[in-house]
Subunit: 164 residues, 2 copies
């Protein structure tokens, strides 16, 4: 599905009404959810890359660690769905930058426990503001009731999906 918001889809700016694609396809919900997701995150990831030099996997790792006391690389891979090698690379990059700690597991020699450093948490807190602003820019179009309804539906769907 679409990957990024386009700014010439609506009739006002494009006589050929490219926005008709929202209604004119076999999987309208998928298309629209994907469009929204990309609208929400892609501009922010661009900013993260430009301003902080982190790629997506690196920030995702930081994001996960910012919300969990400790994780293994495997946990992160499961949470993010990214391949293990991507996580491995991100771990070692972020470790060398001082954004996380990595302590080998005392029992299982294959694993190490990852925790966020103060430096890492500070960076996360700076970066996440961009996501918050973008979320408000887009979802702010909904009124309070709609926002609550969406919240309920989203939670239902993610829990359902996570159980598949």
């Amino acid at each position: 599905m679409t990957e990024r918001p386009a700014d010439t889809l609506l009739p006002a700016s494009n006589p050929r009404n490219l926005a008709a694609i929202f209604d004119r396809n076999e999987v309208k919900d998928t298309y629209r959810i994907s469009y929204l997701a990309n609208s929400l995150v892609l501009p922010v990831y661009d900013d993260i890359k430009r301003d902080f030099g982190l790629n997506r996997g690196e920030y995702l790792l930081l994001f996960c660690l910012a919300h969990m006391p400790e994780l293994t690389a495997q946990d992160v891979a499961n949470m993010t769905g990214r391949p293990r090698n991507s996580i491995s690379r991100a771990v070692h990059r972020m470790l060398s930058e001082g954004y996380l700690n990595r302590i080998p597991d005392a029992v299982d020699g294959r694993q190490a426990w990852l925790t966020i450093t103060r430096k890492g948490r500070k960076l996360h807190e700076t970066i996440v503001k961009g996501f918050e602003a973008r979320e408000e820019q887009i979802l702010g179009a909904l009124d309070k009731k709609e926002r609550q309804t969406l919240d309920r539906i989203l939670q239902k769907l993610v829990l359902h999906t996570a159980g598949l």
Copy 2:
């Protein structure tokens, strides 16, 4: 945000409740929308790559052309948000495979008009079934009323977003 569904997030299968991330972050809606979007499309893109040898950009191009009478490369770039060079590559790949026609514009020598071929439409129709099935697998968790509500909210949001 997360990129792909994980299958070990819920407590039933993971004692450390990785699914807590859905509630435990600053941008819950963004996270959940992104999670859903990726759950909806990524497995299908994997299938497309494996079964048909098309990358994401190539299928997106086909998808756009399947729903519009004709488009320029620029249109597709605007609709999908992908860089022009990616579209250019996809155009020439799909052209050589016989999935689209490309006719230079009579007035503007820089542009060409892209239309889907019968072969291309047939391929699209085969592929989109995978998206339909996945959409139903995930969104089928909603009842009819919820589904209608989501439809309304999604349309409101995408139109708002396209106008930003």
